[in-house]
Symmetry: D3
């Protein structure tokens, strides 16, 4: 067992179609930090899952993934962190490989989207989350886990973001969202809508794991009751899988908050499903 | 941030329509004590939720709530504790405000009902819980978390109590209940029945948080699998909200038993929904 | 309260129709050991549940169960452990009583099945689990929690094993299973099929508690998201209950992994339902 | 292994010189309840220690102890609980056996002292604790873990109580103590003084486990840093052992607060040392 | 009980001699964040300690402390955080009150020292810590918990910093320290040296709680074995107390890492000792 | 950061003087398993310590260590596990490198000693532990964590084993030990005796981490109060360091039992001290 890579992701970089990397940053976490520990915890616990997905009847060994480990970040400098993520994403894309990132807090998605929006002019984002993340500022900051989708909107503009599972936000951002993004509250009910609208478009998939009900994934910074179950998440991933996905991330696991380890295990299975779906 | 009040409940007493208070008592807990810690834990964690309810499209800032803190109790004297709760409830009602109480164990509801039954002769109770709480005695005690609804029946009589989500009790109390209260086992399926029957009546709403499935709220004295999900709880609250609610409580969170904090977060969201529903 | 027996299981051996015993073995656990602690943890926590099942309207006091405590095992010797279980099961059966075993890891089922297959030539097995457990070898071992159903197949042959809730396995064992056992993936949807096929046959019921969603039972060696809820498990047990059940077990609770205690409580309720179903 | 008795304490009552019993009461705990779980947790964990004490070169098998299990108490009635303890203690003494009690909170000592003071007119108490417990009232109560030594003084009077390890109290009780009891602050430095003063007298030994440093025993209601180490506790017990001890208790372990289990293990070893010292 | 202030620190600001405030910042924590939760956790747990110090025979009620709550910080901006601390400290000093700060991570000390060094030209610092914190840069940052004493040296220069209890650092910083600060490795053995050298000088006292052995205070970002006990810390505080102390802080408690709560309790007692020592 | 090796142990095998490897086996653990997780947990947490030892003024970078990762074991086969350890140790020795092993349970030491005793005829063992481990059989097994030193004695004979810190065992093994090994009870008081007796001899050093007081290292299978502090352990290692050490191990950390992580941190520091001592 090689504990340094996610299970089944031990291909050589040159041979890999997908490059997996960790972005262990949680510097703007306002409530409970700890997402920085997610990538390593997931690699270590991935021994407990299988490489085979019975949901999609595919195996991680069928695709070629290279887990290159964690990026190294300066502490307390969100902009510098985003730059590092943007550069790494750009490099992976330039090597004609698909970048998949393990957060860290949700802000890390902004770095990846910056790089991909450079490359793909028609980039769309499908966003699964409990929180709208559409504030313009949060606690005086423009760069925050709570503003990340607004910053991505700054880049992509109206009609490019499709949100699912949202069940928390302030009134203002929820209202703002109605005019600028597509938001499905509470669940992934009409994910087919996003699939239809983004067909033939380059798509970035960003999964904030707190989209899951807090019973399924208590190990996150802001657990939110009333979310979707694991089966519903897998169902959504399967429906998205035929799209032209050009990058993806899974974020906001905070493993220390769930001493049972069930959250980390669920995150590992979600990542496996994500990888075989985009691979 | 004022950690001493529940989020958004910082109105002056004189201006408030709703008065929120804690009843940190768990003296008759026979299995696992700890509900005494609930009110302060909820105030502290309430920073992690929003004041806005996307379920009811209302914000705590739309109503006026004054969180007056915790009552102070002598230890080991259930009757004295109930007297204090009764007096405080009566005082709030006499000031023409709506009392909302955070338990503590479920016995605290009896104090509030005593005060409200004085004021409102036709008082009805809607009771969400995993446990019937209809024993006449429990471990030799007349006053207990396991007898609280029987004591309330002593005051209100037949046909005034509507129970939902019940899935635990001894055979005798379940059978007794069939003749004296309305009980919906396992879920809130026919909550419309209670709504219809109590229309135009003064209603007290008592939510024992263990009505939720133990996956959603493991942090309680006696977690019970097989309960309702968070969405179903919110749905029930919404259906009850048009009634003439004259008091309410939320009880039996025992925060230390859930180190993930997800139970306390779920309780905070449930309280927000309760407040905007009755406000 | 007698903490040394499971609640309501305090009949004398000679008067008992069901004999309950613990098999505290977890020696082949490859990921996270700890199932050895399950039987004692369940006895201790069983004070927190009722003897009455509202699901089946039966009470443990209606049937006669004798909890004889835990078997004693040598450490690190799977074959010797299985022999002890086989002998004890045979002795119980020879006393014309029904054996119900609390694991321990899933391998313990093999010991019980060996004894029962001796006695009942047409033995069938109904198996609820997240994992197929159909590997021929695991980490070089023939006797393992991950091979237990294959070893049982060695005894019973094709068409005798009915699996429900399976959602994890390697590709090979899942494929192998299609030709040799009946497998319902993900849930207990068609449990009626097994009921119909095993009617009039002697049936052994083996419940690996990780068939439950990891939110309901995080306290297990390999928690698996995407499983069934508690109500679905009870429903399956009820449907199985009319069969001619000649033995049963409940295994893979690992209580230390869930500090909330909700997993152990759920396991206790599942055991109560199992007992009143087979009693 | 018989998990229902403390290791090595499985003699028949009629043959026993020492009778061990649990007093699982924590009803006046003002800060953190949970001492009710101590007796059962200690019995269960006692499998992890040896019966042999290398400190005193004696084995539990050298003395004859009968663990009769836990007393059963009504909840929320301190006086009734004390009556039950007093009666049981009196019965054990009347059978010419030595009572040793596992708390529960510290108030339980009062019940035992009441019985013993009836029998032994010159009773003295040696008291190891972090807290003076000399308040006349606490939160309006006369009967409380924080007043227990004052209530014992009500019975025994000046000069009969010797306190060690005290490092917490309000100013008033500490000053009061100077005139009525012997108090050694912070450690057990001059335990010889108590030994000398109580020679030839009947002595009751009461050990509140929070006398230990909070690093050694964090699993207690009010952990106090700055206490003694385990070796110093054993040393004190050894020095007390030649006295005419007529009863003893060990109290205030609250096992759930220490998930590592080290507190419960330390309490088990302390009980073994206490038993072989008085046996 | 007012849970919003540290016990006994409820004087009005205008009447207070000491102003206590929280600095809930942990943005440069490189290993395990969470010190942000310390001030609120300490206020909540302070109910469990007494206001009276038996070590110094003084009571918090003898001095006048106003706990003004937590400063509010932008996330992810160390420099802005330091500015806020510096301004608040300057304001308190300008009101002729003594500032005492609860961290947060250790970097917060720099803000306070900046303000005090403006006012007191001869400022000295006594520093209790497991880590030297003398690096010039850490992970590319000048402002970090690991560089804080070097930044303070930038302001104060050689011979003004006295370190105690240091047992961790890289070789370079330890060597650098030999020429620029006074460092006592491992313990507080010669604290009299610092007392003598700083007599008649204005002194800032900074206590990183990880100076305590990791057994006493496991709830910190980087627990270090081999540290001092609680009694030794109190002894050091008592020896420092006659000095002309113009400000102080206590930092690096990370309460969530110690589920037993013993770390937070120890921190509360240390703060009480610090307050009565400087009051 | 390379999380796959212990900090500072990233030399190439061919260049290394010391080879570090993990032996993640806990198959004979009779009380609480979990030592299998120690090597990976230590590698992951080693980021939190420094490579520099202020105790010995040496840095891991001064010596050359290659961490080759964990051996792979079959489950449930102690003899096969020991064979694998013996072969790997022999291979390392044959490459003229010094083997240092991270357990796993204590039985793993036997594999290493078997290999080293082949090579060094005059091999002596210095053994730091809470438990004597001198039983001839334990629960019917000859190969067990509780018999490991007896099995080593089978190989080495009288006068070759020096035990320190022992404070737990059954009476028989303690008495047996008096005639066959040198045992210092409770602490490392006369470690100079072992140093003197083994001078010029090849020495194997085996540190069972439960030699530390359970306050310092609660995260172990059988935590034992009354042990040595961390400083005393380092002192012992320093005194042993001039000897001709030919192999060493550190075992019995069980990281999951200490959620604070302080046990794992202490184990990492102990390993650093061990490595710079023998390097």
């Amino acid at each position: 067992m090689n504990h340094n890579v996610f299970i089944g992701c031990d291909k050589e970089y040159k041979d890999a179609g997908i490059v997996l990397f960790g972005a262990p940053f949680d510097g703007t976490a306002s409530f409970r930090p700890g997402a920085r520990f997610a990538p390593q915890a997931m690699r270590l616990c991935s021994d407990g899952i299988e490489t085979y997905s019975p949901y999609q009847n595919k195996d991680l060994s069928d695709i070629s993934v290279c887990d290159i480990g964690d990026l190294e970040f300066p502490f307390g400098e969100p902009q510098a962190v985003l730059d590092i993520i943007e550069q790494k994403t750009a490099a992976i894309v330039s090597d004609e490989k698909l970048p998949v990132m393990i957060g860290g807090e949700h802000l890390v998605s902004l770095g990846a989207v910056r790089a991909l929006a450079q490359k793909y002019s028609g980039l769309h984002v499908i966003h699964l989350d409990a929180h709208a993340d559409l504030r313009n500022e949060y606690l005086g900051q423009k760069l925050s886990h709570a503003t990340v989708m607004r910053r991505i909107w700054d880049i992509l503009g109206d009609g490019r973001i499709f949100q699912y599972g949202i069940r928390s936000g302030d009134r203002e951002e929820i209202l703002w969202g109605r005019h600028h993004v597509h938001t499905r509250m509470f669940n992934c009910g009409d994910i087919e809508h996003a699939v239809k609208k983004t067909q033939d478009m380059p798509v970035y998939l960003s999964i904030d794991l707190d989209v899951l009900d807090s019973s399924v994934l208590p190990g996150t910074g802001t657990p939110e009751a009333g979310g979707i179950g694991f089966a519903e998440l897998v169902e959504a991933i399967k429906k998205i899988s035929p799209l032209h996905i050009v990058g993806a991330d899974l974020n906001e696991l905070s493993p220390h908050y769930d001493p049972s380890g069930a959250s980390t295990m669920a995150a590992c299975k979600a990542l496996r499903e994500l990888l075989v779906a985009v691979g």
